[in-house]
């Protein structure tokens, strides 16, 4: 089917061929090797291959019975026999041969003599007129382009060209005379003028009757011109050209000259006779009635050449176009047109054999146009059924009462088109004007997808609808919906131009996303599409700051648990989504959530790779060229990238807001854990600098800000985080810049206040909240709430004195000595625990009254330890507070 045809795996082409083609290809391949062996006089090889050929021929017996013995086969037999006889005669040469070869020669000679008796008549006829049959085949080669009415012709495929090549060398000498003969034949039967126009109609079968001869010769002009127009440069074609030139000359000059200067002259003349060019797209004989059957035949013929070596792919596309034109002119109905369009698009995709290569611009444009036209037809004619499951023979292309049935899958074509678009974007330099130009096509791509969506909604199956929905989603999820944003801000009136007005009338992308995704959630049966849809949906939510929806969807989907089983592109999408989620949380001021969401991506240090936004430099051992290619193909096009600096900055700032107060609170805690390794790393890098200049990069800014925050100096911190440099680098990239900045300032103030209290509470006996609120420019209630929270969480040992609005410090934060003692106590606990274990072992593990008792004791101990680790902190502090207050009171 079309669908399968297009799915090329890597660079190899899968072409569906008939059994006949397959068999004949096998034969021609063997023949080729035989001819090669002949050339180098390798008799043993010849023998071996001949035996193979014999077997292969037997295998294809059924086909041969139906189609007749193929011409190329006969030719080989004849040539081989001649060749062998010639060798046999050459006594000198035979002597020179080595033993093996000589032996093979004699065996082969005998064999072929015996074998050829079966084909005597054919060989004789071939020998009578070898050039004609060669010529005929040659035309078929060209003739990926040519068409013919006769069935017999089909058996001579383009492949035969390859096989014929070596033969040509040998034949150069007798050529001229044969041409002569051909010409003579032609003259003798020149009545059939009409026939002669149809250059593709050489209905010669293996016999090669002479009446067809003239048809072949006469049509040369067309063929040649055709070739000329398409400007094929392949050398083999040139050879053909030359040969044709011979004929041309003969025909035009009607002189039986040998080749020479005359030939050149003839060439010039023809070139002068350009008018023939107009007949270029002429594929059918003048008089042929152009009907469905004819066109389909032609179509199939063109298709046959598809995927074969030496097929001029661009020419093929042209031919398809021409065919479409013809069928249009003759009003053959939409069915056939659709069919041809399918093939045009398919062959456009085929144009690049390498999967890594991308479409050329003009091809791409053509492709878009074609799909557009195809969709036009489909929309206009609701009586066309297309589908990949319609079998080739159940197609209905003719105009009749029945609706058209065409094999092919438009969805696959569009999907492929989308992929091609991605490929083009991947392969364009993102900083060039070209990229912008290419990106403009995105609108068209979206338009096509939209139209297809409409079409499939009415006609397609659920799965198809899901697929096309996903395509639509994929083109929507990463785009920020500015109009919806503007509308939500109530700025509708500001859009003046008509176009803007028009744009803003469309549906909000959120609504579209919601509708499409929900359909997929409900209907999809492949997990992958649903997963992608969910991720896109979350991404879209996050992008538009709908944090709670995004988060809930993420949590409900349980994607975090099993995403590692997904394929890499989905994982990349997941990573993108997580990052977007984190950034969204940050914008909403949920610093902790932001940090958690970004932690995984940032801590690996390979954010770029994980997001599919570029390859990291790595040595070749880890990644060979093949892998690199695959990874390159996974890259996300530039216009969908998430700004990595923004990402890192968001992460670092979140880490700073969390880590600095935490560090201040647990200054003496030996078991302090790092919240963010990455952030600590940046701090260390900052410390290592021998000379600290003013910050330049984003990281340096964050590090400098962190240092200021450590001292509780929020103003400096603020000036490092939010300034012109950082604005242009990071903050301006947010759609709601101002709001984010305000949030950030507030967070900095709050966290600085906390840090300040942690760090300097030991210095104060009491501190008025009014002073604090002034220092940190926070309202009194905020200060109050922050301090209250700290007291409740037992982070700050203080109490609030309501009447005076002051914080009274209890001075019960453990000193470093006390901290140390606590640690020691903990360690000793561990030691005792371990010691008891040794003791347990000594006592023996086997039952007994004593042991039971022991176990009870052990459990108790564990309970104690558990308490020590978690709730224990609180306990300990309670204990201390009491204990030390007593001491304080007593000693001072």
């Amino acid at each position: 089917s079309n669908g399968t045809k297009m799915r090329n795996i890597e660079d190899t082409k899968r072409v569906v061929r008939s059994a006949k083609d397959k068999r004949f290809e096998e034969l021609t391949n063997i023949i080729k090797t035989i001819r090669n062996a002949m050339k180098i006089r390798d008799m043993s090889k010849c023998l071996e291959e001949f035996e193979q050929l014999y077997r292969a021929f037997l295998k294809s017996k059924t086909i041969v019975d139906k189609e007749g013995v193929p011409q190329f086969y006969i030719r080989l037999l004849a040539d081989l026999e001649d060749y062998l006889n010639q060798l046999w005669e050459d006594k000198e040469g035979k002597k020179k041969m080595n033993k093996n070869n000589a032996k093979a020669l004699s065996t082969l000679r005998q064999k072929i003599r015996k074998y050829n008796k079966d084909f005597e008549t054919e060989i004789v006829s071939y020998k009578e007129n070898p050039e004609q049959s060669a010529e005929e085949e040659e035309k078929d080669d060209i003739g990926s382009a040519s068409s013919s009415k006769s069935d017999d012709d089909e058996d001579v495929t383009a492949k035969s060209l390859m096989k014929k090549k070596p033969q040509e060398e040998e034949k150069k000498a007798p050529e001229a005379s044969k041409f002569l003969k051909g010409a003579a034949d032609e003259e003798s039967e020149s009545e059939e003028d009409e026939e002669s126009e149809d250059w593709g109609s050489d209905s010669v079968d293996s016999g090669g009757e002479s009446e067809d001869n003239e048809g072949a010769a006469a049509s040369l002009a067309v063929v040649f011109l055709k070739k000329y127009v398409y400007g094929d440069k392949q050398p083999e074609r040139k050879k053909d050209d030359r040969r044709k030139r011979h004929k041309k000359m003969e025909q035009v000059d009607e002189e039986a000259d040998e080749e020479g200067e005359g030939e050149e002259g003839g060439w010039e003349k023809v070139k002068g006779g350009v008018p023939l060019v107009k007949e270029k797209p002429k594929m059918f004989a003048k008089g042929t009635e152009i009907n469905n059957a004819v066109v389909i035949k032609k179509l199939n013929e063109i298709l046959q050449a598809r995927g074969k070596k030496g097929t001029d792919r661009s020419a093929q596309i042209e031919l398809f176009h021409a065919l479409a034109g013809i069928s249009n002119e003759n009003n053959l109905g939409e069915g056939i047109l659709v069919k041809i369009k399918f093939n045009i698009i398919a062959s456009l995709y085929d144009y690049n054999t390498n999967l890594a290569a991308f479409m050329k611009a003009e091809m791409w444009k053509k492709c878009l146009e074609c799909i557009d036209e195809l969709l036009d037809i489909l929309f206009e004619n609701s009586n066309i059924f297309i589908g990949e499951n319609i079998a080739e023979d159940s197609e209905n292309l003719a105009i009749s009462d029945q609706p058209f049935r065409v094999r092919g899958c438009i969805l696959t074509l569009v999907e492929r088109m989308d992929e091609e678009f991605t490929k083009i974007m991947q392969n364009t330099d993102p900083h060039s004007q070209e990229y912008v130009d290419n990106l403009k096509d995105e609108g068209r791509v979206c338009g096509i997808i939209d139209r297809l969506l409409q079409y499939l909604e009415s006609k397609g199956s659920t799965e198809e609808v899901c697929r096309v929905y996903l395509r639509r989603i994929m083109h929507t999820y990463y785009k920020f919906d500015y109009k919806a944003h503007r509308r939500s801000l109530g700025l509708q009136g500001e859009t003046k131009s008509e176009q803007d007005q028009e744009e803003s009338e469309g549906e909000d992308s959120a609504i579209i996303m919601d509708r499409l995704c929900k359909f997929i959630y409900a209907k999809d049966r492949t997990d992958r599409i649903r997963t992608c849809a969910i991720l896109c949906h979350i991404y879209h939510h996050a992008l538009h700051s709908r944090w709670y929806q995004a988060r809930d969807l993420m949590l409900m989907s349980h994607l975090q648990d099993n995403i590692q089983h997904a394929d890499p592109p989905v994982q990349i999408l997941y990573n993108r989504t997580m990052v977007q989620l984190g950034i969204c949380a940050f914008r909403q001021g949920m610093i902790k959530d932001a940090h958690n969401a970004l932690l995984d991506i940032q801590s690996s240090g390979r954010a770029k790779e994980l997001l599919g936004q570029g390859l990291l430099m790595r040595n070749m051992q880890e990644r060979n060229a093949e892998q690199e290619k695959i990874e390159k193909r996974r890259q996300v096009p530039f216009h969908m990238h998430i700004n990595l600096e923004l990402l890192e900055c968001v992460y670092l700032v979140s880490a700073m807001l969390l880590e600095i107060p935490y560090m201040a609170a647990h200054e003496f805690d030996a078991r302090r854990r790092m919240i963010s390794k990455q952030f600590h790393h940046q701090l260390r890098v900052g410390e290592r600098q021998p000379l600290l200049g003013p910050p330049e990069s984003m990281r340096e800014h964050v590090v400098a800000a962190s240092k200021a925050m450590k001292m509780g100096d929020w103003r400096t911190c603020h000036s490092f985080i939010i300034n012109e440099k950082m604005n242009s680098k990071v903050w301006d990239l947010f759609p709601e810049t101002q709001r984010v900045r305000e949030m950030l300032v507030r967070k900095i103030q709050e966290e600085s206040l906390r840090t300040y209290l942690f760090t300097y509470s030991s210095v104060y006996d009491s501190i008025s909240m009014a002073t604090l609120s002034e220092m940190f420019e926070l309202e009194l209630p905020t200060v109050h709430s922050i301090i209250s929270k700290m007291i409740i969480n037992e982070e700050l040992m203080a109490s609030l004195d309501q009447p005076t609005q002051t914080v009274v410090m209890h001075r019960t934060e453990p000193t470093s000595l006390q901290n140390m003692t606590l640690q020691l106590a903990e360690k000793l606990g561990g030691l005792v625990e371990n010691n008891e274990r040794v003791f347990d072992l000594k006592q023996g593990v086997y039952g007994g009254y004593f042991n039971r008792d022991q176990r009870g004791g052990y459990q108790q101990k564990q309970g104690y330890q558990r308490g020590d680790q978690k709730g224990g902190y609180q306990q300990r502090q309670n204990y201390q507070r009491g204990g030390y207050r007593n001491q304080n009171q007593s000693s001072y």
Partner: protein, 317 residues
């Protein structure tokens, strides 16, 4: 255990040595010279080991000591090598190195001692100089070089029986007395009042840190021992099972009239796991004990000072 005499010269020389070369946790060492009078040891002189770096390969310590002693003999100084001294950092000295070298000294001359000088305490106003000797029990064990759990168990040795402290009597000659008086005159007022310094946390913190480090070490040792014990019992069980199976099979064979299975070397099949040497644990325990004593002494002294200060304050106000 009879006390032994040290001349003040030795003390001053040790102090001077540390003052000049030791810093922080660095340790200085030297040789004690003296003679055995009747069954008592008298230490009359000492000289330091020179500091030298690892890459200074040409330096031969033994050679240096011999030279030094020969030179000292020329000026008529007692030249019997009766022990060695070492400075300590917050009382950390119980280590494998000390054990080994003290063992070799004591092995050669039974009366040998090691003098431990604590410069930090001394700096705070109370001279801290202690002499230790390995107990005969420990000497036995060290001679055997068997530190397996069984051997130590058999020897009945705990951390408290490892080192014995030997009382010291410091003898001052008149000349020394004169010198000391002279020094007293020169010392500043602040130095004198160091004794009454109330701030304690620094010292305690250091001690605690060291103590904690050792406790960690102890925990590790115990865990090691624990796994060893567990492995041992597991293996023992396996061995038992194996033997039982074997026995059953043999009885079966006997009933069938077949010859019993040949004896196999059971120890080869079940190689007992390598027992961790327990000496380190003992040393650590000794060291921990030492720290604890130090801290206890220090805190009790400090508490006294605090009470004194309180009383003074109450008196004055």
């Amino acid at each position: 255990n009879l006390p032994f005499f040290i001349t003040c010269l030795v003390v001053l020389k040790i102090i001077k040595h540390y003052q000049e070369e030791g810093q922080g946790s660095e340790v200085v060492q030297g040789v004690l010279l003296g003679l055995v009078v009747e069954d008592r040891l008298e230490i009359t002189n000492c000289f330091p080991f020179p500091q030298h770096t690892e890459d200074d390969v040409d330096f031969d310590e033994v050679q240096y000591q011999m030279e030094m002693m020969r030179s000292l003999r020329h000026v008529n100084i007692d030249h019997l090598h009766v022990g060695w001294y070492q400075s300590t950092y917050y009382g950390s000295f119980v280590s494998r190195a000390l054990l080994d070298s003290q063992f070799s000294y004591q092995h050669a001359i039974e009366e040998s001692v090691v003098l431990i000088y604590d410069p930090i305490k001394t700096a705070q106003g109370s001279l801290c100089l202690k002499a230790y000797r390995l107990t005969p029990k420990l000497m036995e064990i060290c001679k055997e070089k068997d530190f397996s759990p069984e051997a130590l168990k058999k020897a009945c040795i705990g951390y408290e029986h490892m080192l014995e402290e030997v009382p010291i009597v410091i003898k001052n000659s008149h000349l020394i007395n004169v010198l000391l008086l002279d020094l007293q005159e020169k010392s500043t007022v602040a130095d004198k009042h160091e004794l009454l310094n109330l701030s304690s946390s620094n010292h305690l913190e250091k001690s605690l840190q060291l103590l904690m480090d050792r406790v960690d070490g102890m925990s590790q040792e115990i865990v090691k021992y624990n796994t060893y014990c567990r492995n041992l019992t597991k293996q023992q069980q396996q061995k038992q099972q194996y033997l039982q199976r074997r026995q059953q099979e043999n009885t079966q064979r006997q009933s069938r009239g077949e010859p019993p299975l040949p004896e196999e070397d059971i120890n080869k099949m079940f190689k007992p796991p390598q027992a961790p040497p327990r000496m380190d644990t003992l040393l650590i325990a000794g060291q921990v004990n030492n720290y604890c004593q130090n801290i206890k002494a220090f805190t009790s002294q400090n508490l006294g000072k605090l009470f004194m200060a309180e009383a003074l304050q109450g008196h004055s106000s």
